[in-house]
């Protein structure tokens, strides 16, 4: 095994290119999660006969799904070419899959909400509600695949945990947003969802950060921007959940708690995206695990994951050709 102190680089320059995505992308990850989980919440509420909650959740879903394409187009280098996303169907590109998902989800959620508000075409409206409720969980989780499907260590190595972080964040957002719009006993299931999902989000995030280990997970430790955002997200999520739990009979507290919970889920997405930027710019995070893979050693402090150590035989063979030489 090569000790980390001996990780070499080209004048400390990054091996990878940092992601070029700006604030609309993590904002979209939040909005898409809110839209997806809200649609599922609406469907479940409808099935349970809680029409008041179903209506609020459906409106939340439609609102968030309307914002989503605006955010995505805003971040494109060539916004006028947004439709090029749909010129091919390409399963190897999670962004392409997501564009199609959003293209299906948007009209479904907006159509269902329009029907709900106007009372027009109730039958098709319910069908669209079912469709958006079924697509919702995918819209809330595919964005995790999108970022994991890159060479960035903090993203790629979190391929197994990130979908759960995003799913629980989405569920917490949907529950909190529904509570904001729904005073009274009908919001009880949304309140439960927000609380349980907030706990799951807190646990999932900690598990992800720990499993990433000292190299891929480096941005989440220390005093960098991603670490600060991650701590803020955890504090907001925990604080929001506590306020909601305390405010069951006091609407003001409950509203404050729900808003805080939403902020926590949003900040968590910004933390993940920022961690990717910091991870890409750190040559050691890229080189050290690859170097260890070549010398056939196990990763310290993190288990072999999606991207690591899949072909020990081939790795060892290649390792002979590129054996580290003292310099």
């Amino acid at each position: 095994m090569v000790p980390d102190a001996e990780v070499r680089s080209y004048y400390d320059q990054p091996v990878l290119k940092a992601p070029v995505w700006r604030w609309p992308i993590p904002a979209y990850f939040f909005a898409g999660g809110l839209a997806g989980a809200s649609a599922t919440l609406a469907l479940a509420a409808r099935v349970a006969g809680n029409d008041r909650l179903a209506r609020r959740a459906l409106l939340n879903s439609a609102g968030a799904v309307l914002v989503s394409p605006v955010l995505l187009v805003e971040d494109l280098g060539r916004p006028g070419r947004f439709a090029n996303m749909l010129r091919v169907l390409k399963p190897t590109s999670p962004m392409n899959t997501g564009a199609w998902l959003l293209a299906a989800m948007g009209p479904a959620a907006v159509g269902a909400a329009a029907s709900e508000l106007t009372g027009v075409a109730r039958g098709p409206g319910r069908a669209l509600e079912c469709a958006s409720g079924a697509l919702g969980p995918l819209l809330a989780t595919y964005t995790a695949v999108l970022v994991s499907d890159t060479a960035v260590p903090a993203w790629h190595e979190a391929g197994r945990e990130l979908p759960f972080v995003f799913a629980s964040g989405a569920a917490a957002s949907a529950g909190a947003a529904a509570v904001l719009l729904t005073p009274g006993p009908e919001a009880a299931p949304a309140r439960r969802l927000a609380l349980f999902a907030a706990l799951a989000e807190l646990a999932g995030t900690r598990i992800m950060e720990r499993r990433l280990g000292p190299e891929a997970g480096a941005p989440y430790g220390g005093g960098g921007r991603a670490a600060r955002l991650s701590r803020w997200a955890a504090a907001l999520t925990a604080g929001g959940a506590a306020l909601m739990a305390a405010g069951r009979r006091r609407r003001t507290l409950e509203v404050a708690g729900a808003a805080t919970l939403l902020a926590g889920a949003a900040v968590e997405r910004f933390a993940v995206v920022q961690a990717g930027t910091e991870s890409a710019l750190e040559p050691r995070a890229t080189v050290a695990p690859q170097r260890r893979r070549l010398s056939g050693a196990a990763r310290p402090g993190a288990r072999g994951q999606l991207g690591a150590g899949a072909q020990p035989g081939a790795g060892a063979q290649r390792g002979e050709e590129t054996r580290p030489s003292p310099a």
Partner: protein, 264 residues
């Protein structure tokens, strides 16, 4: 892999690179690549820094203090490593896999090219590349990288960088021929005592299925800013989708569970 003739490649033999940067200049001139800043980086004679949207060839300069054998017992000296880096035109190219518009495509020559009239500037290819090659041009919004001189290949010419290289450090040709030539070259160098000579990106069993542009290096790849064991990220895509499906099902189950007992 195609009916248009053999897959072409670059074999960059860094043992004969003299760091003249003629490749960088020829590439810029032929392809009309904008200026990328003329910075004094205070590290070496490298004032390009790295590959990017506006640098499709990049000559790395590595200065190493090391013992030098000489008549009176040897002493310390300096070794220069110079290497002209370029897009690897991977067999399994992550940029091409993740591109949502199909702007990136595999050409009839086996190279990987961006169609500038299709690219919508989503930026997905940028963090996907395990070599950090492709990047977004800020004033233009689209992603750019080496095209392997697609236009010149079509006209039966070799790429501008290879033609301009005065020492044949950059060799162009059918990939199979280049691989055979590189194997001979590396074994000859090793026989002559350059034990540290090794090939990089030539192995079709590596994480990107072998590179279309591969190298003979005189030190570890990371010393030149290259990843030692790059893997195409989409190799793990199925596992990521499985995790996402499990998370999506958990989300649906969780939402259903909070209504348990509340059905009217």
């Amino acid at each position: 892999m195609n009916e248009h003739g053999p897959r072409v490649g670059f074999f960059t033999d860094t043992s004969v690179c003299i760091g003249c940067k003629a490749c960088e200049v020829a590439c810029k001139e032929w392809n009309g690549v904008p200026e990328d800043g003329l910075d004094f980086r205070a590290t070496s004679y490298d004032n390009t820094g790295m590959l990017g949207a506006n640098s499709w060839r990049h000559v790395a300069f590595v200065e190493q203090a090391r013992p030098v054998p000489s008549g009176d017992g040897g002493g310390s000296g300096v070794r220069w490593l110079m290497s002209s880096d370029v897009c690897k035109h991977c067999t399994r190219a992550a940029c091409l896999d993740v591109c949502p518009t199909g702007a990136l495509f595999r050409s009839e020559f086996g190279t990987v090219v961006v169609q500038a009239d299709v690219c919508n500037g989503c930026g997905y290819c940028v963090p996907a590349c395990p070599f950090g090659v492709i990047d977004q041009r800020k004033d233009d919004g689209r992603a750019w990288k080496c095209t392997f001189c697609y236009d010149r290949l079509g006209a039966g010419l070799e790429p501008a960088c290879a033609q301009a290289c005065p020492t044949d450090s950059i060799q162009f040709g059918p990939l199979d021929e280049l691989r055979a030539r590189a194997a001979r070259r590396v074994s000859r160098l090793q026989e002559q005592g350059t034990a540290e000579a090794r090939l990089y990106g030539h192995d079709q069993g590596d994480g990107v299925g072998g590179a279309g542009a591969f190298f003979l290096l005189l030190d570890d790849p990371e010393v030149y800013g290259l990843p030692p064991d790059p893997v195409v990220t989409t190799r793990d895509l199925a596992g990521m989708w499985r995790a996402a499906a499990a998370a999506a099902l958990s989300l649906a189950a969780g939402v259903a569970a909070v209504f348990a007992g509340s059905r009217r």
